[in-house]
């Protein structure tokens, strides 16, 4: 499909979401390295154009379920980064009161229903959320974000079938981040565990509209998401978007490492990029790519983007301070809210 170029307002809005995601994630790795929290965790760097492009297409009342690589979606939705950090640090002020941690952040008031860390778990949950809005005759759409590994789970295919049969207003966003992932034999994640050659052939088999886009291209993702949301709102049933990204080098090992740090000035002066991950920074970093596009289209000057970058850094620093200064939950709260 033809990719509509982003207009100025949309470009800058998506860029803003992506900046916040990037600085949040770099800070999350630092906090882990400082032993501010324990837990396995997952970093969204490299996939920001996908999350931001989709989230930009949603309305306030739309519903979101996501998977373990969730920080970017939470921040991109505009949820409070302070409460997100607080949750990751197990604080009482966290979105889940410290009951969830990195793997379960949710913010129902913003339509962010669930992070399910059961691989594939969010696809049927999002399908259910869409069943909820449809049966309540509401115009809202549900989005399920998941990785390509989720397509190894049968429950996801069951969800496709149900969504197609009942024409549910759900957008499945499959973030295929396996390109560049190292295999299990090298001590990391297995990236060769499916016999399926074309992921979009799976939903297509159920008659679901399926499209594959470059997940580092904010304009392509946003155009696909806007179309998908419009189709869902029009009652035309579910849509599947496969967004392909090249894995950020820091997410290749079993535990994230701060392989690169964001330097906006390099986006405008690629000759300055060096080091072991220069290829990724030059060719696959979605944030630098969008920055160059914005400046190239004269939607903003480098200095204006630098100012936004600085503002995002300051918001993240304030969010970290809020989280670190927040109290731990009191032990009694371990027993609360099992039932309504």
């Amino acid at each position: 499909m033809a990719t509509a170029a982003l207009d100025q307002k949309t470009s800058l809005s998506i860029f803003e979401r992506m900046l916040m995601m990037r600085h949040f994630e770099e800070a999350a790795i630092r906090l882990y390295n400082e032993k501010q929290f324990v837990s396995h965790y997952h970093i969204y760097i490299g996939q920001e154009a996908t999350g931001a492009g989709v989230l930009e297409a949603l309305g306030e009342k739309d519903l979101i379920c996501t998977t373990h690589r969730n920080h970017g979606h939470i921040i991109g939705r505009g949820c409070d980064p302070g409460r997100a950090f607080a949750e990751i640090l197990g604080r009482a002020t966290g979105f889940n009161g410290g009951r969830g941690g990195t793997l379960h952040i949710c913010d129902p008031e913003k339509g962010f229903l669930s992070t399910s860390a059961i691989v594939g778990g969010c696809a049927p949950l999002a399908t259910g959320a869409a069943y909820g809005t449809k049966t309540k005759h509401e115009p809202h759409v549900a989005v399920g974000f998941f990785g390509d590994g989720s397509l190894e789970q049968g429950i996801v295919l069951e969800a496709f079938n149900i969504a197609a049969l009942w024409r549910l207003p759900v957008v499945y966003v499959c973030e295929n981040n396996s390109a560049g992932a190292i295999g299990a034999q090298q001590g990391g994640y297995s990236a060769a565990t499916t016999a399926v050659e074309s992921f979009i052939s799976l939903p297509a088999a159920y008659g679901i509209d399926a499209i594959k886009v470059d997940g580092a291209d904010a304009a392509a993702v946003h155009a696909a998401a806007r179309d998908a949301v419009a189709r869902c709102r029009a009652g035309q049933g579910p849509v599947f978007i496969e967004a392909v990204t090249v894995r950020w080098p820091g997410s290749s090992p079993l535990w994230p490492v701060l392989a690169t740090t964001f330097d906006l000035s390099q986006a405008f002066d690629p000759a300055r990029i060096d080091g072991p991950h220069a290829d990724w920074l030059r060719d696959h970093d979605p944030l630098s790519r969008l920055a160059r596009d914005i400046v190239g289209r004269k939607f903003a000057t480098p200095a204006q983007l630098e100012a936004r970058d600085q503002a995002a850094r300051e918001r993240i620093e304030a969010a970290i301070a809020f989280a670190i200064e927040s109290p731990m939950p009191t032990p009694e709260t371990a027993f609360a809210d099992v039932f309504a």
Binding site: L63, R99, P108, S114, I118, L125, G128, K136, E158, V338
Partner: protein, 326 residues
């Protein structure tokens, strides 16, 4: 008062809830099993065609769908068929529905009902006879309801559908034809209130669901021998009515538990533990459990009979407990 069947009482409650709240929908419509009473659902199909979704055979996704829909503010009633099939949906049941409210710090409500038929139904063998309630009781966050009578099923189903928690509503195929007095008007029976189905002074027999009738049959036999058994039906396992149980054991001094879940870590084991911890001083004899033994369920009738909790086995257990009393 008029007498109607358990199945008819269930349908009355469903119709009442569908009429009262447009956000109630049914996912699956064979809620009365595949026996002759299934036709009682036909009027509901006719009356609410756009509120009833006949789903594919995908229990796992349907459990998750119910949870997601409930998070979005709907009030789905999801039928999973026989209890054995609920295991297909175990992950979303215990990983999503049961924990969503807790993990969200109380910010999410998950008002979904999961319905299933449990237990030994005759010829069900090892894949159509399960009673998952003990395992579900071991997964915090699910309300568990086991109605035994037409009156109870009508009142408890209303409470289940109106509950803001995920509720597992467990029927039994052998209950469907049982007839008894049922009020015509709508009413709700609160969760966590045990019902004494038969008062007695000599022994407390605890039972839920179909084996309440097994216990009552045993109590009648024992009455002819001069033994007065009290039959106590907790009606809900979660929440569990501890005071009524402990009060009954305080009066009778003896406890026999009949249940279709397996012996080890089963419903009877937990009830025994409750009394051992909080009512030990009332006991005048060891506790006896009449449960399914720790074997898979066989098909052939004499084999199935051998593992079924029957009135004879219950009466024998009561006599044994009385003989061994202090």
């Amino acid at each position: 008062m008029r007498k109607i069947s358990y199945a008819a009482a269930m349908v009355e409650a469903l119709r009442s809830c569908l009429t009262a709240d447009p956000h109630v929908t049914l996912v699956g419509s064979y809620v009365l099993g595949l026996g002759p009473k299934r036709v009682l659902m036909d009027p509901i199909r006719a009356e609410f065609p756009d509120r009833l979704y006949d789903p594919p055979i995908s229990e796992a996704a349907l459990v998750s769908l119910g949870a997601g829909a409930a998070m979005a503010g709907a009030r789905p009633f999801v039928d999973l068929g026989t209890g054995s099939f609920s295991y297909v949906g175990w992950s979303p049941l215990v990983n999503e529905a049961a924990v969503a409210r807790y993990m969200s710090n109380g910010r999410l409500r998950v008002p979904v009902v999961y319905h299933m038929l449990h237990g030994l139904r005759g010829g069900g063998a090892s894949q159509h006879s399960h009673s998952p309630q003990a395992m579900l009781w071991n997964a915090a966050g699910l309300e568990i309801v086991l109605p035994s009578s037409p009156r109870d099923v009508k009142g408890l189903l209303r409470t289940a559908i109106n509950s803001d928690n995920p509720t597992v509503f467990i029927n039994h195929a052998r209950l469907m034809d049982i007839e008894d007095d049922v009020p015509e008007e709508d009413y709700s029976i609160p969760f966590g209130r045990a019902d004494i189905k038969r008062p007695g002074r000599d022994v407390t027999i605890v039972a839920t669901s179909f084996v309440v009738h097994t216990a009552l049959e045993a109590a009648n036999v024992l009455a002819s021998e001069g033994i007065e058994a009290e039959v106590l039906d907790p009606r809900t396992l979660v929440p569990f009515d501890r005071p009524t149980l402990l009060d009954s054991v305080r009066r009778t001094g003896r406890l026999v538990i009949v249940d279709e879940t397996n012996l080890s870590c089963g419903v009877a084991a937990e009830i025994t533990a409750i009394v051992a911890e909080d009512g030990f001083e009332h006991l005048r004899a060891p506790v006896a459990r009449v449960t399914r033994p720790d074997v898979p369920t066989p098909f052939s009738k004499p084999l199935e009979d051998a593992i079924t909790p029957t009135a004879d086995k219950v009466a024998a257990a009561v006599r044994r407990v009385l003989r061994s009393s202090r």
